[in-house]
Amino acid sequence: MGVFKLGGMTLKSLFKKAPTRRYPYEKREPFERTRGQIDMIDIHDCIFCGLCQRKCPADSIVVDRNESRWEYFPYKCVACDSCVRSCPKHDLKMMQERPSITTNAKESRVYELTPEEKEEKARREAEKKAQAAAKAAAAKAAKEARAKEDVPES
């Protein structure tokens, strides 16, 4: 009988620590590399390039550049880590905790700049654009002037 042949192993198990645990009450420490879900470290560092959205195989990230909005659907996410690896600003991190049980699998986490910050950002961008336009205009004028100077010489 197989039961008696396994007896030694079974007897040993009597005196060893149980290999199982009472799960919902007793949780195991996750490993360092365990992949649970991702999180945004600081929305102010995000440049809304949308690379994470393009890399995501499960469409769990939606980035709106115009609205400065970054949305994440933890229950769509497959925790593959490709967004974290692709982020040029290293602004995403992988967390070890898995998303908790929910009745609403469509829920999402939204990270957004405040209206003041948005205004500030728009103002800065407009300034940058104006500066760039001014620079371009100046460069063009200089080029034209140089061309005019060059003509009589030749």
Partner: protein, 362 residues
């Protein structure tokens, strides 16, 4: 001649966690024919190549099946690397084979537990799954996932696994080998196990050849088919490799082959860990497969040969991706092994064949 009866087996059945339906045509208690019907878990994953680009499709292939997940991502990555002419580093090749063999151990231990459970041998089932848990812990520690690793990618292996961790894996496996020997011996030497399996579900060498069988099912009938013999990747670096064969062709032989394959996998891992080279594990991948470039790749999964075919269309999306899995090859053999068996032996025959239905249907 007695009257024929048709008894449905599945799609829900206690011995199989996956849905497959068989119409068993019986004469008295003896099965004379079995008509399989699949399609309960078809997900249309091959069609998804139109929606996901070739780097994202690794995650789709991983999700074809929970047990063969690493094998599928490995086969797909090798296929795309061949298509684009990417050469990966030696260390990545070694790591891939080590993790592929680890997933073979985990798959065979899962099968051993299910088989024991099918017998009603609860203690052995618990012990087999306890050992499997140690392998799953290795996976989680090294790659971050228990079942779906997302470790193998086009261009190499995503996670660097240090030499110390690899040595730790060897120590865990050596401990596992001792315990595994005890439970495997218990199963194979048991008189009641023998009386239920010896001579049951017989498939001859000729039949195995005729039905183009693959994997441990074919090797148990003495057919020498093993893709590892081709020496693709780090398999070519092994000092010797002999597939495990048996010429009995019955349920007991199939168990015997699988049980020994676990020990063989541990040996392969030990050898590769001892001579793994240093270096990077990932090479950068740029560009996309050329238009109309096509390639194929075969791989030895835990259940046998899997076949991968890919065709590029000039963009980052593939034109076609085709995967043929071992169980779809083995269904004809399963029907042949079933005919002539007793009705009470049908669960045993199916369990020793170890069909993977999610792989088959994709």
């Amino acid at each position: 001649m007695s009257k024929r009866t048709v008894i449905p087996f599945g799609p829900q059945h206690p011995v199989l966690p996956e849905p497959v339906h068989l119409d068993l045509v019986l004469e008295d208690e003896r099965v004379v024919n079995a008509i399989p019907r699949i399609g309960y878990v078809h997900r249309g994953l091959e069609k998804l190549v139109e929606k996901r680009d070739y780097t994202q499709f690794v995650y789709v292939t991983e999700r074809i099946c929970g047990i063969c997940s690493f094998g599928h991502s490995l086969g797909y990555s090798q296929c795309i690397e061949q298509l684009m002419g990417i050469e990966i580093t030696d260390r990545a090749e070694y790591l891939r084979v080590i993790f592929h063999e680890l997933s073979r151990i985990h798959s065979h231990l899962l099968w051993l537990g299910l088989l024991a459970d099918g017998f009603g041998f609860e203690a052995l089932f618990m012990h087999a799954w306890r050992l499997r848990e140690q392998v799953l812990d290795i996976f989680e520690e090294c790659t971050g996932g228990r079942v779906i690793f997302s470790a193998c990618d086009v261009g190499g292996f995503r996670q660097e696994v240090s030499n110390e961790t690899l040595k730790g894996i060897v120590i865990v496996l050596e401990r596992l080998r001792e315990e595994y020997r005890t439970i495997a011996k218990t199963l194979l030497d048991d008189s009641s196990v023998k009386s239920r399996m010896v001579g049951v579900g017989y498939l001859s060498h000729e039949q195995a050849k005729e039905y183009s069988m693959v994997g441990p099912f074919a090797r148990a009938s003495g057919l020498e088919v093993d893709e590892r013999l081709l020496g693709v990747g780090a398999y070519g670096e092994l000092s010797s490799f002999e597939p495990i064969l048996s010429d009995q062709g019955d349920c007991y032989a199939r168990c015997d082959v699988r049980v020994k394959e676990v020990l063989q996998s541990i040996d392969i891992i030990n050898e590769l860990v001892a001579k793994i080279p240093e270096g990077d594990v990932m090479v950068p991948v740029k560009g996309s497969p050329e238009k109309d470039a096509e390639t194929m790749m075969t791989l030895e999964q835990p259940r046998g040969q899997a076949f991968y075919y890919a065709k590029g269309n000039g963009s980052k999306f593939l034109a076609r991706m085709r995967i043929r899995t071992p169980t779809s090859q083995n269904i004809a053999g399963m029907v042949a092994a079933l005919s002539g068996a007793e009705l009470a032996d049908v669960p045993m025959v199916i369990l020793t064949i170890d069909p993977c239905i999610s792989c088959t249907e994709r």
